[in-house]
């Protein structure tokens, strides 16, 4: 490793890393969806939820709470189906009886994607938008939108 880069890394990694805990959700990897013309696949997008945080599931189980939703921007000749969320875990606030459903750690959402038979081969850009409301074991945070690019490659 270049010495200069190593010094910069050490100086900035830990302070930045401590503040990054406030970014509750991030992508595990940049989403790239590969499929052939006329094909239907189930694409996956993997998110990492910051340690000690959780976000509401797609069905929190309590009327007031804000469910996590995911939207993907339409692309001509490419069809996105209904989003499939993973199983959730439960969370109970100490001293209360209320139990609700949350996502924590890592979540993988599945998206049925199909390309029309006449779609031109090539690279298409779309945008994903994860809406979530995060909490830790002490407090909750305003709901947020996490927007990111999604690349679709039709072969």
């Amino acid at each position: 490793m270049n010495v200069f880069k190593a010094i910069l890394f050490l100086l900035f990694y830990f302070p930045l890393n401590s503040y990054n805990q406030l970014a509750h959700v991030k992508l595990a990897e940049t989403p790239v969806i590969n499929l052939k013309r006329g094909e239907q696949i189930i694409a996956t997008i993997k998110f990492e939820i910051a340690r000690e945080f959780h976000i509401m599931s797609d069905n929190p189980g309590i009327e007031n709470f804000l469910p996590t939703t995911f939207k993907i921007e339409p692309v001509k000749e490419i069809e996105f189906g209904k989003i499939i969320f993973p199983a959730s875990s439960t969370f109970k606030i100490k001293g209360t009886e209320e139990i609700f459903n949350v996502f924590d750690s890592t979540i993988i959402i599945k998206i049925p994607v199909s390309a029309g038979k006449k779609v031109v081969k090539g690279k298409y850009e779309s945008k994903g938008n994860l809406f979530y409301q995060a909490c830790d074991n002490r407090k909750c945070y305003f709901p947020k939108e996490f927007k990111f690019p999604v690349t679709i490659i039709v072969k």
């Binding site: 830990f14 406030l22 100490k94 209360t96 909750c140 305003f142």
Partner: protein, 187 residues
Amino acid sequence: MTVKLFLPLSLLFLLAFSFSVKAQNNSTKKFSTMKDTEAPSFSLEDITGKKINSSDYRGKYLVIHFATTWCPFCNAEAPNLEQLYKDYKAKGVEVLIIDVKEDKKLVSDLLVNKFKLSFPVLLDTEGKVAASFAPDDVLPDLARDEVMLASNLLIDPEGKIIFFSLLDSKNFDAKLVELKRLLDERL
């Protein structure tokens, strides 16, 4: 990487790590300075449209909880705040919820009616009052109004903050045990 670089890089590693720990501890350090300071004044409408001023509560102990309808901690606390209000009102203790950035109907349906709250629930529609209570150096990356969500404060009859549960609790105190202990000491 050569062996002779090991020592300086190790020192840099320790230096960077100490910065990291310092950044994480800032919130705890700043918190202690909030107690015994003058509470910011405010004037907000409650869900009935009535104007409520902080000065109305001079001479009384005032419990303030910052909430939103979607906040599980706030929901968990709501029935306990109502009970605290019933138990301590005769002793000169008032309770307020300041709802942050939500509309009147939502707050009315999902907070006041749901939990049958008999004390005033105020609407801080722009989050400015919540922000005015947030210590500057706590979670500097967050919007100031966000810092205050699910926090509890106790203001004494002279207008000083004497309890401020912001990021200092190891565990969430839904039953308001610490707050009630302090009230019992004072009353």
